[in-house]
């Protein structure tokens, strides 16, 4: 097993399967009257979030606590970082306190990869710039499997701002690793400039894609993409790529709607579509804790063969 989780590819197909299998055990734990096991007693997990993300931070914190780990929260805004401390100094200071895992979120791609070079502790990428958000992809896989069974041969559309999306990068890697076919649907300005090595198809016609997919992942559309002239207006974006009520009706009966959150209702997803039975958005959040328990367990508790 890998010592860090920096990108989905660190796990490989077998590793993803292992996480999903473990997640099942932790979903069971989460459903107990006392949703807590003593597994990581005495271990310390610190969240180092350079970019605010309440939901991801809380999800990791809940996961660590349900495993009985001690948790620390490094608040960047009120710390030495605000006084100009370098990333490496901050990380080495934290490690000196004796931590077993560092959960890193940063607006710059690759920071968790760099941090992993500097520390002995396990590093978990909780989202880095446009790069990856591996635990989100794992919980997406788990949630899809709850609904669809195996992902092999399934067709999944990822719709929206793929270019700036760490979720999209991780989802593409994870879905395709489990045998799904992925189609990216976005205006060309919101696709990465090169898709060499991406196991995906590309479409600019959402209506046509929707009828043939088993799941659709909607990405958050950031307001500033408009000012960057990547789309003329959010209205035009919604007209072309938003999952409106009309478009949701094009989906097959079994099809699933996902969104990593937070949603812009009325932009990438219509308000009433988000609440349809085929939307598994809240299920994603619930599974997020169990998936993160599985990841922490794998990194910290599975031990290594001598």
């Amino acid at each position: 097993m890998t010592h860090h989780l920096l990108a989905v590819d660190d796990l490989g197909t077998d590793g993803i399967e292992e996480v999903l299998r473990l997640t099942e055990s932790f979903v069971e734990v989460s459903e107990r009257a006392i949703p807590k096991v003593p597994t990581l007693r005495g271990r310390t997990v610190v969240s180092l979030f350079y970019e605010e993300s309440t939901r991801t931070r809380l999800s990791f914190e809940a996961a660590a606590k349900r495993l009985s780990a001690d948790t620390m929260n490094f608040n960047v805004a009120s710390s030495a970082v605000a006084k100009g401390e370098s990333l490496r100094d901050t990380v080495e200071t934290i490690e000196a306190m004796g931590v077993d895992a560092v959960i890193v979120r940063h607006a710059s791609a690759g920071v968790p990869v760099q941090v992993a070079r500097w520390v002995e502790a396990s590093v978990v990428n909780a989202g880095d710039g446009w790069h990856e958000h591996p635990t989100q992809a794992l919980l997406d896989c788990y949630t899809l499997r709850e609904r669809l069974g195996s992902l092999a041969g399934r067709r999944i559309a990822i719709v929206g701002d793929v270019k700036h999306s760490r979720v999209a990068r991780s989802d593409v890697a994870a879905f395709s690793s489990l045998g799904a076919d992925v189609v990216l649907v976005a205006p060309p300005t919101l696709l990465p400039p090169s898709l060499v090595g991406w196991p995906v198809e590309v479409s600019h016609d959402l209506d046509q894609v929707l009828a043939k997919v088993d799941a659709v992942v909607l990405l958050r559309m950031q307001q500033e993409r408009q000012t960057e002239a990547l789309v003329p207006s959010l209205r035009e974006y919604t007209a072309g790529y938003g999952l409106t009520r009309r478009r949701a009706e094009l989906l097959g009966e079994e099809a699933v709607i996902m969104h990593p959150g937070p949603m812009n209702r009325g932009v990438e997803i219509a308000a009433d579509v988000a609440d349809l039975a085929c939307s598994v958005v809240t299920r994603q959040v619930a599974n997020g804790v169990a998936v993160r328990m599985a990841v922490l367990f794998l990194l910290l508790a599975s031990g290594t063969r001598p």
């Binding site: 299998r21 473990l22 055990s25 069971e28 734990v29 107990r32 009257a33 006392i34 807590k36 096991v37 003593p38 597994t39 990581l40 495993l67 367990f297 910290l300 508790a301 599975s302 031990g303 290594t304 063969r305 001598p306």
Partner: protein, 191 residues
Amino acid sequence: MAERERRTTPPYGGAFVARSRVMDADDVRRAITRIAHEVVERNAGLEGVVVIGLQTGGVPLAEALVEELTRIEGVPVPLGTLDVAMYRDDIGLRPVMPEAVTAIPSEVSGHTVVLVDDVLFTGRTIRAALNAVCDYGRPRAVQLAVMVDRGHRELPLRPDFVGKNLPTRRDEAVDVHLDGVHLGDLRPGPS
């Protein structure tokens, strides 16, 4: 012995090589029948009794025990399975995988839980199982049934129902199946 135990005991993933058979299928069956009668006798019936097999080696024995209990008393007995991996005290020291199903069938609070495992050795698995069961509620009593008690206890635990007391060396291995019990060794496997 259980596949997972082979993977998680040095030499990790080794092969069990039997040296002698200590019980055959009939012996195992007779032991289960006797334990079933002892359970009924001890609890004056099966009112409030829940049987929980420990993953993974205890599960087939628990299933056989429940079958036998039902046959004797003519009432259904709730059967559960429990994976104690998340409660072990050697986490991080060796490969541990909670991958087997934990399914506790009914309320444990106020019930008598009969834990079933294949081999009682150091007692650490049972310690973990006791903690796990208590996370589900407050049982009226917990009793322990094992097919083989091989000694070498590291904790103050004693089984309530035993198929066979089997003196062993620490470095030996015991393999329990419904079709027989063997004493042997773990040899490094091909992996």
